[in-house]
Symmetry: C2
Amino acid sequence: MSSPTHYLISAPGKVILFGEHAVVYGKTAIAGSLDGLRTYVLFEKREDGLLELNLPKLGLHLPLLWPTSALPYSKVAAVSKVADNNSSQELAFNEELLKELKPIVLDGNVKNKDIQEINEFQQIAASVFLYLYTSLEDKQTSWNGMTVHVISNLPVGAGLGSSASYSVCLATGLLLVLGHIPIPNSNEGNTDSSFSGSSSPMNLINRWAFQAEKVIHGTPSGIDNAVSTYGGAVSFTKGEMENVIGFQLLRFLLTSTKVPRDTRAQVAKVRVLYDKYPHIVDPIFEAIEGISLSFNEIVNSGASQSELNKKFEELIDLNHYLLNSLGVGHSSIDRVREITAQHSLHSKLTGAGGGGCVLTLLRDDVTSDEITKVKSALATLGFECFETQVGGNGVSVIDSSVTISKQEFLSSENVQQHFSGWKHFT
Amino acid sequence: MSSPTHYLISAPGKVILFGEHAVVYGKTAIAGSLDGLRTYVLFEKREDGLLELNLPKLGLHLPLLWPTSALPYSKVAAVSKVADNNSSQELAFNEELLKELKPIVLDGNVKNKDIQEINEFQQIAASVFLYLYTSLEDKQTSWNGMTVHVISNLPVGAGLGSSASYSVCLATGLLLVLGHIPIPNSNEGNTDSSFSGSSSPMNLINRWAFQAEKVIHGTPSGIDNAVSTYGGAVSFTKGEMENVIGFQLLRFLLTSTKVPRDTRAQVAKVRVLYDKYPHIVDPIFEAIEGISLSFNEIVNSGASQSELNKKFEELIDLNHYLLNSLGVGHSSIDRVREITAQHSLHSKLTGAGGGGCVLTLLRDDVTSDEITKVKSALATLGFECFETQVGGNGVSVIDSSVTISKQEFLSSENVQQHFSGWKHFT
């Protein structure tokens, strides 16, 4: 079998279902993968020794180009790379490599006739690619360079894990191209996302995606890349993650209030309240943790789907008001809640609050007609809605027998539906 | 000094400032007296051996009349009466007396030419009067019967302690007329409402008012009659009450949503939620208790009035959302909150919720012009507002040198302002 000349990878975004803010104080939170809201990355083989990165979604209208020979491989200890790949320990972050890459990132522009400005955010996205390529490069690959196209239907900076899904796609593609993990053989539908097996491809992808997240965020929690890698729902406490076993797909309406999110400001606001009234705020965090734990219990209670939905709605209401008591609500969020309540639907903010996105549970009995009405009511008020499912597949690779042209990839509005035959790692 | 031929007594209503619902589960709540929202009872001497009770506010357009000789004094043990009055122990409730009074209450109608229907609520109000009279009667009084007029500017059944203020007025008047306590000598402004001294007039009034509350409610908490008797603000935990020392008058707007209150239903609703999610609801109760405790701390912190008000507003917001999380909110309450928020004012429900009344703090810097605007905005939406102060005087007796005619009393819209020279027990 000849080596593939392209890979198409996709990885989902995430939403926090329950526990935002309380998680900062060591309480349990629940996050789930966003089915249908994903980042897609196409890797194409080159023969000219160049690495090409296309980030149109981030506002870069020209590709960035680097010769593979320009990368500082000497900063990567070959021995640690091999050892790390077979260990369950967290990979050590290579600060020196990142520093060395800084000027190289900007060189990516040199080959372009029109010099485009590369802002800090775009530089970071390029750094992730070069950091992973340099770290994972090994001489066994038959590729001599590659072209990478990134598209996504995830809103950037909305707290929906767009950076993690980008990190997971890049980690997966580079691990595949550079020979660290095999092409998955499992068929679609096999969504075994067990966290066991430290040297499994999934584990390796997650660990390298976490490295990428460190390039982007400095000190990420690790929850976003885990959800994007494994899919499903994850329970997260003080850095420890556990799959929510038995979790079934849940339908949600995800509404962007279009009020800009400022996570740092909201977290700081809660800290001020906590410092002022610890005897009030600490029990509120405990109550929020109680919601996350109740969610886990309910999922495994064997209750019927309609009972589950009823209870999830109660948890959504409880969490909504508790977040409001912490002062991270916003009138736009209340407005979305009101509109959805008029259709007997229950909503809560997701993420840091103070604007951002609102999650509305779509029970099984909610007809598409009703959903259309709610969406139109929300759109009338200037909100933007995405119908989505939470808890779907994690990172996926398209069957390599499917041929995709760059044009086909870039023109397909919903890549997930357009190409059949996605495969999943085990 | 000849014995007075009339007494005019007033006692305030109460509001719960913080801790409603959580108090049912043994957590601390804070209640305060409602200045200006009071019940007024005029006692007039008679010579004909009749007891006349006028309850126009309860819908009785004719007086009820009983001969003093018709009451079952034999059901009252004289010795226990004297002993009880000098003890700090709770008075034993006289179930037998109450039972005996049942048919006698209805006889109050017999002297009227037009037989009026007496509903259960009116019967209970009459029972309170006869229960207290029979229990406290002793041959030392120079009065041979009395006429009692009851008026009130407190809405009945709104959770504002109208029954307790009625109980306190009746207990005070009858203790005075029947020679158990002396007429107070203290001047207005002396509001020493220390809870110490088990045989003090205040203590005796509170204990007999608690008996009256038992006639009305069966198992009252005792918080309403304590606040109505002593005034100020009271911290209440598992039946134990403590004065909130250092509490200054706070201005509030009290808004009736006009949505009928059903305390029993709201308490039951919270119970269902508690039984379903104890690990969520118990910490919510703890957080609410934290609010009550913070209130006590803040009152005694020596902070400036503007700092105090700022913090009270934060506690109001916290408590509002926590009550909403318990499911006892109502869209009408949220509406009042919205309107008052438009004027930078903070509101929470008071009492059981699900409608009922909303408290809005009026900081010192809020001008009467602004208050007028808020009130008019609320009135436009059909809400009814009372401007009030919380934490004023408890039970008061008008200086006996002031002569009041029945007509004057009944025609005075605000008795508190109309008659000067109120005195307070110590």
